[in-house]
């Protein structure tokens, strides 16, 4: 049976007041490719077509999705279709009134990022003063009865705060905390040398997570997104290419994951030109790596291929230069040495490495360099 999508990530805009150096948005987010944002009506059509195709979970993301003035309308439409709707936000300037309006429109779940456990570090990583807004918004979600996920992207400069972050989520009464070790795509790949953690940092943080999980039980779910560079085998990226998941970008391109747009050897279609069902079932971008017929060795004859699907196509493209290769993170990949070198680099590095903040001028400058 052909797979049907369950998840849709709707990236409503790439505008964002924050400037996180690990942002997974494309480096050229400020460029012409993403400029002409979908209208309210176009998003309605995307949601309807996604639901008819099998989608049940909708993430409203960005950039910063609350910058869209029609967010309440989008939520209402999604809710009426029966989609379980999550808002993925930085909470910058997010008021209680806005959250209440979103609740009334049928929003199911709120995920708010935080960049560190205290204002000083959080604001330094975000590049924009936002810690106060986040803490206020966490409390609003509790007062309004939203299930809350606290999301933290972890890297060299904040891994030491894992315990404080868990305690913060606990004190807020959050349902979940997502401790997402940086995945190296987009801005994170550009800033890899500055963000890469040491093995000792990861080991310490993992010990804290295990201890806190035992202490908290079901009171607070602690999700630990593996630092894949430090693993032996790759992650089962997206549950397999084009099996359950799709991303629609601000100007309507459809990608099998939120990083796939960087694969220059694939052609991506747009919801303005094609029905979503056709894109899912027939477009080159979605069919190219679906299933396992495309797999080269060592994946082809590997018993793990039904568990990890050969890992991540974007990582194969970005690190090994070909999206059709085994994920270079895999210890069986002939390109694993490229990952090992990046991991080893940080252990040798003496001082801190500067990062580039994610911002429109930097985006344009990087795009101009190619």
């Amino acid at each position: 049976m052909d797979p049907k999508p369950l998840w849709l990530l709707a990236e409503l805009t790439y505008k964002c007041p924050l400037q996180c150096p690990y942002c997974s948005n494309p480096l050229d987010f400020a460029g012409p490719r993403f400029k002409r944002e979908l209208s309210t009506e176009e998003w309605y059509r995307v949601f309807r077509e996604a639901k008819a195709l099998g989608v049940l979970q909708l993430g409203l993301s960005g950039g910063e999705p609350t910058l869209r003035g029609d967010l309440e309308d989008l939520v209402r439409e999604a809710h009426e279709l029966g989609l379980y709707t999550s808002l993925i936000t930085s909470a910058y300037r997010l008021t209680k009134e806005r959250l209440a309006a979103l609740k009334a429109a049928g929003l199911d779940h709120v995920q708010i990022s935080i960049q560190g456990a205290d204002a000083e570090l959080s604001d330094a990583v975000a590049g924009t003063g936002s810690y106060g807004d986040k803490i206020a918004a966490y409390h609003y979600t509790r007062e309004l009865g939203f299930p809350l996920t606290v999301n933290v992207v972890l890297h060299r400069r904040n891994l030491h705060q894992v315990e404080a972050l868990i305690r913060l989520a606990e004190s807020l009464g959050a349902e979940r905390i997502e401790l997402a070790n940086t995945q190296f795509y987009g801005w994170a790949l550009h800033n890899r040398a500055a963000l890469m953690p040491t093995r000792a940092q990861l080991d310490d943080a993992w010990r804290v997570v295990q201890r806190e999980r035992a202490r908290l039980g079901t009171r607070l779910e602690i999700v630990w997104v593996l630092p894949d560079y430090h693993e032996q085998y790759p992650k089962p990226c997206m549950g397999g290419w084009a099996r359950a998941y799709m991303t629609v970008t601000p100007a309507g391109e459809v990608w099998p994951c939120h990083a796939a747009g960087r694969i220059t050897t694939l052609t991506f279609e747009n919801v303005r030109a094609h029905p979503l069902a056709w894109i899912w079932e027939h477009s080159e971008a979605f069919t190219r790596f679906r299933g396992d017929a495309w797999m080269p060795e060592p994946c082809r004859s590997c018993p793990r291929k039904t568990q990890d699907f050969g890992g991540c196509r974007c990582q194969a493209f970005l690190v090994a230069g070909d999206a059709g290769l085994t994920d270079p993170v895999c210890s069986l990949s002939p390109h694993r040495h490229l990952i090992d070198a990046a991991v080893a680099e940080v252990e040798r590095a003496a001082g801190a490495v500067e990062w580039t903040y994610r911002a429109a001028p930097a985006s344009r400058a990087l795009a101009a360099k190619g």
Binding site: K4, L56, D108, R176, V223
Partner: protein, 95 residues
């Protein structure tokens, strides 16, 4: 925690929502970043968890419906099913 032999009232956690999945012809329980596919029995059990009925009353209702009173199988199934969801934080027991 086990539900067996207690006057406890199972409730769906507010973060979870029952939804019919037209495309796949089944019911699902949706929650933040996840879902559980339900078989018809599971969906029926959850519909009976209205925040008023105790586990024993859910069991008794199902036994009446299927004429299986006193055999113990229904109670075992209901308890295992609800405990499984409780372990995921999707069902809570109260009074």
């Amino acid at each position: 925690m086990t539900a067996a032999g207690r006057p406890s009232v199972p409730r769906l956690h507010p973060k979870a929502r029952l939804q019919h999945d037209d495309v796949r012809g089944r019911d699902v329980l949706l929650y933040p970043e996840g879902l559980v596919a339900l078989n018809p029995t599971g969906a029926e059990i959850l519909e009976l968890c209205d925040g008023v009925r105790s586990v024993a009353e859910v069991v008794a209702t199902l036994e009446r419906r299927y004429g299986a009173a006193g055999e113990g199988g229904v109670e075992r199934d209901v308890t295992a099913f609800l405990d499984g969801l409780a372990a995921k934080g999707l069902v809570t027991y109260g009074s």
